[in-house]
Symmetry: D2
Subunit: 431 residues, 4 copies
Amino acid sequence: MDWKHLELELIVLRRDFHKYPESAWTEFRASAIIASYLNRLGYRQLSLGLDNIDPQSVMGRPDEAEIDRQIERAKAQLPESCADGADFIDKMQRYPGVVGVLNTGKDGPVISLRFDIDCVDVNETVLPEHRPNKECFASVNARLDHACGHDAHTAIGLGLAKSLIEKKDELRGEIRLIFQPGEEGCRGAYAMTQKGVVDGSDYFLSLHIGTGVPSGSFALNSHGHLCTTKFDACFTGRAAHAAGAPQEGKNALLAAATAAISLHAIAPHSEGSMRVNVGALSAGTGRNVIADHAVMKAETRGETQDIADYVYKRACEVINGAAAMYETEAEIIKMGSATDADGDAALAERVGAVIRKSDLFGSILNDVPATGSEDATWMMRRVQEQGGQALYMVLGSDITAPHHNGSFDIDENAMINGVRALDIIVDELAK
Amino acid sequence: MDWKHLELELIVLRRDFHKYPESAWTEFRASAIIASYLNRLGYRQLSLGLDNIDPQSVMGRPDEAEIDRQIERAKAQLPESCADGADFIDKMQRYPGVVGVLNTGKDGPVISLRFDIDCVDVNETVLPEHRPNKECFASVNARLDHACGHDAHTAIGLGLAKSLIEKKDELRGEIRLIFQPGEEGCRGAYAMTQKGVVDGSDYFLSLHIGTGVPSGSFALNSHGHLCTTKFDACFTGRAAHAAGAPQEGKNALLAAATAAISLHAIAPHSEGSMRVNVGALSAGTGRNVIADHAVMKAETRGETQDIADYVYKRACEVINGAAAMYETEAEIIKMGSATDADGDAALAERVGAVIRKSDLFGSILNDVPATGSEDATWMMRRVQEQGGQALYMVLGSDITAPHHNGSFDIDENAMINGVRALDIIVDELAK
Amino acid sequence: MDWKHLELELIVLRRDFHKYPESAWTEFRASAIIASYLNRLGYRQLSLGLDNIDPQSVMGRPDEAEIDRQIERAKAQLPESCADGADFIDKMQRYPGVVGVLNTGKDGPVISLRFDIDCVDVNETVLPEHRPNKECFASVNARLDHACGHDAHTAIGLGLAKSLIEKKDELRGEIRLIFQPGEEGCRGAYAMTQKGVVDGSDYFLSLHIGTGVPSGSFALNSHGHLCTTKFDACFTGRAAHAAGAPQEGKNALLAAATAAISLHAIAPHSEGSMRVNVGALSAGTGRNVIADHAVMKAETRGETQDIADYVYKRACEVINGAAAMYETEAEIIKMGSATDADGDAALAERVGAVIRKSDLFGSILNDVPATGSEDATWMMRRVQEQGGQALYMVLGSDITAPHHNGSFDIDENAMINGVRALDIIVDELAK
Amino acid sequence: MDWKHLELELIVLRRDFHKYPESAWTEFRASAIIASYLNRLGYRQLSLGLDNIDPQSVMGRPDEAEIDRQIERAKAQLPESCADGADFIDKMQRYPGVVGVLNTGKDGPVISLRFDIDCVDVNETVLPEHRPNKECFASVNARLDHACGHDAHTAIGLGLAKSLIEKKDELRGEIRLIFQPGEEGCRGAYAMTQKGVVDGSDYFLSLHIGTGVPSGSFALNSHGHLCTTKFDACFTGRAAHAAGAPQEGKNALLAAATAAISLHAIAPHSEGSMRVNVGALSAGTGRNVIADHAVMKAETRGETQDIADYVYKRACEVINGAAAMYETEAEIIKMGSATDADGDAALAERVGAVIRKSDLFGSILNDVPATGSEDATWMMRRVQEQGGQALYMVLGSDITAPHHNGSFDIDENAMINGVRALDIIVDELAK
């Protein structure tokens, strides 16, 4: 493997993804480029879009008109070099995401690796010192920015696809490269898991760049992801003239306000921390009209799945009760969800041994605390429930601003050792 | 009829009722004295207690232990002169109230007259200038006071019983003298009406003393009584240690608090005024325990029965929704109710003609606005629905303080003309 | 006066205003056309824009960037025939509105007539049967529609200007034609009144078309306008990550929700009806961020100014208290206001006499109840406080849909008799 | 020392305290017996009642009428054997509690030991199998029960007083035996600390019986007591007839309800757990009267003093803001408070060494988690701030029911080793 050349290729790939960021469930351009790239490498077992998704389990997907617009934009933004991209998009059946399988034809373990490909819904900074601005790969899509590093994850996934297929004959078993849409808001992993994309895996691996770990370091086991449910609650009442016929109204604004306060008053749990937040509320239209609709964006979190289930159940009771108080109807729509699977210590030890031997990193961390929620936990939990082992690692990279901030940028030179580390780990597991 | 002698007797009777006031549904002593008096006069058709009450329709009655205590007290406070009082109490079957019927044996109209007999739950003033204190007939029952004038109503009812039976032979038809328990809080009339005590009446009459009309005046038609429902809402949750296991609790205090606020936020009605009040709220016990119970005393009112129904329906929705928000159970118990029947103008005119001719009063008022709610409206409405006519009159009397105030006292000399007015009216209707 | 010709001119004028509707405080095109028209007629005493406005008293005006955009649009939409329009706009100093004074030079009363010129913020229907669509004068400005008839009021005002100046020599005293911006939302009259535009008037007249009065009828005295205050309440808190540092947040969403519920729970007033409505609430942005801002659009109303003052005072207390509960700051911005002045019966009688004599209308109504709030009441009250007389009349017109509905249209043939009626009334008052 | 005899004496003492339990700030009988006992032993340096209390810092004390009643009862319940008890009570100046000082006259450390003497406000069970019932020492004071073991603490304190004075000549320095009122509800320690009773101490020791540690065990260092503030919030508004003049009311019930909900909605803290509870709420009187008063019993807790301060500060803001919303006044009265001082590891080690050597206990535990809040923490913190060391230990005892339950009873045989352990520790520290 020519690692020197791959180092450059990773940067080119990452910058291309960075320039054309796509939000959850609309990563059609990225998926097309991934499919085209894997196809060119010789991955014949490719499954696209809806083939990897259980549509009943999808959360937080835009409406069909928006999907139409995004497919159109994706096609328009495809590079000339990706001649087969539009065809791949058509095969996706309106859902992004790609799974490429490397079947060695020899008995051996099934190893699944997950790379998330979506961006964040923030504006990228226009400050000239921001490297994407200086070097002309800043986002061209308004209000969208790869401010979480998934552009690097995607590039690393493609780099690994290349290194693995070159040494296919040395490997055993089956390797699945899962390019997942919609990690932001915890929207995509659950629907892929329910479709079965990690079923039968002996090992599951995922990795995140940055998150506080500096360049030159590698963390074996990021644990403590918070269980969470993201949801919208929509209240539907009946409008009426507030002075002329107030008794005719069914006040969705007051129902939502009542719910919002009591949601924050859900009793704490003695077995661990939990959170509730109603982050946004929008209700009504005219000043002199009783509001007939209200929408709140909310989320619940818990240190364990039990606590998270408790607080979400209570949230639903609060919302439905408040709706009933005002004769309104409430609909609760799940917009995202993550659970709290932890990595396997045995796998962390085994991975740690080979990574240490490799001398790729100046510092190897064992356990590092997670910094939020992550929906790869659904895949980890599924694999663990089926008897396999799972690990969520962190590839160190200096960052220029916190994740999700418009000034966020990574250390691009860190990417190559991410590929090499995964290459070594697969080697160890599939030898 | 010796009106001079009756004038004194009314004062004696009234002072006796005043000294031994009894609250709604516990007027056993008063009922015994009424029954004994009517019996002595020769009223053979007496129905007592439960015989006049539909128990399913009873509202705001104390629990059985309290009824036991009150029966015991009533018997203990009976005057020696009322030797048959205790027997009458036993025949009441734990419900007070008396209906005495004067059947003339001749064809003619059925005339029902209603007198309310209960007191108010306030302490009578101890100020020496208050006449009941000066002249030794102040309430001897703690926290109970005839501060609304029902002691006078009862005395007037008995006086009328006497005057009518003396001239029985001149009358036609049937005259019912209804001594009703529980007017305060609008608790008693509905259950009597449901039992049928006014069914078949051609005329229904009631009268109130005072209410702003001065001595020497008489008002023919007091109208505009507000429809109201009095109710308690009891929330039952589950206690839990607030620090040790808050998630185990079901917070009845927060459910009640949430309900209280939104009850006051029920939208106004464009067709007339309405009121909601949560007058009292009591919840929880220990500071560090999640409250497992809460009780609120509330009332709804409306200018018309439709508006009252609207606001009561909304109140129930608010309470049940708030209970559900906190996983608690709510029970709504009706404690009282009144509707909005208005007197018949034709009857007012007819009554006005004879009262004017009588020269009993210096001033005759036609319509006067009602000053609150009154459950005789249930009887008025029933009679009117069956084709009869009804009238709610006011007997003028100077008063020393507002009704329901511990310093309230009436002008006792006003009573005799109340009897004479009713006597004349019955004469007119039953001649 | 050639009334036949004027009838047609009114229709042409009204259709032009209808096609280019302008919202409160942005009626620059309409004001330019009015000024140009009056100027052409010979009105030399014209005062424009800011000269008629007390800027401290302005309510509900858009921000300066929006004013810029609207001035630009107004100029672009001026007809070629109005060559001096852009100059007039420049003289307005960023505030619309025109007052034209006809000074007869002879002693006599000061008569002020007010015409409101703004449109409503609704979309005009696109249904082909709607006459403005059929006859090509539908609104070309998105989300704006003359759905209240102020296009007709403006045309009538110009028609009256024409008829009056033709018979200037027959008149005495001074006649002020006040073309007021921002009646919708009760935004403009108060600032004009505070500037003194009606000061010194002996008579004040205003008229509305439609409002339930059919074509061929005329109502002398529309009374019972509700006092109202329209206001926005803006809550400013502090954002924080809802899971990572909730204690750092100052939750503007919860402050606003708490305020909204208790605003609706303001106690009713025993002396008359009142209303509170929070019609719209918008708070927060991200689902996982504690909301740092919230804005509610609210209004309070009262049957009398005292009641309106009570409810607005209570509303301010509720908002400020709720803000303090959550460590947030609340700013309350008045967006509009009207009071409850009633027309003078003596003036109504005098006007009624001449209108009846005129035979212009098949039916003359005396008192008609007002259908909402109206800020001409500020002008009426000012004139009455200074000893003058005021009247708010209704010019009957069949309408195709309720006022403020996108399908609203008037009976254009009704306009001419509006001009003639005013002409007769001025004649009567200024002869 | 005759430990065998003392073992029996402890049981007799404890059963006497158990039979006559006294609630916080009313422990006059217990204080009299303690003073009398110490005096008899030869403790000449006794300070009583108010001499040990800073009255400004007192929290949760009953009103003076109740103090009168309790002093009277205490005197009536004194045993004949305590002839000087009534005199001691008179010297207490209406505040209970005793500090006895053993001054050895030799240089050496100051050692303070604290024993809490109050009972819990619960009814003792009447079940016959409950030993206090079987053996005739059940509480004779209604609604009061030594259900937390402070009867044993008091007996142990007296036993220690006896053992120490017997070997006074072997000791150095000064030993303070602090018998504290009002530990329940965290009411008494703060006022003693503020008065300076532990000032100048080199060592501070306290011990609790039971709390989950079984008979035969001893725990050296109970840590993690939650910081807490107990408080009552009183809202004062203005009553008004809810139907007749609602606008005159200032609704204390709604103010309190609004506060209660938002108190529970105070945002969690990222640095540790916290709790808020409104355990009881009582508001208003009459159903048809706007409530003019409301009282809530509430508490806030935090894992650290910083968190506790945060949540108490927020609670005050919520209460005052809600009061202002309804034009009411809120008064917040602290009823109790504890902080979070932890024991000194060095002292625990030193104590552990001598306890282990003693063979008194089958099992010695090091750190055990605290089970709630404890106001000895104020004394610990004061001593530590002044450079001293502090320790809060647990004396194992099987218990028959959870603390604060009416069926709670201890293993009386465990008491003697509590005395012996303290005797050994004092020996170690004061040798």
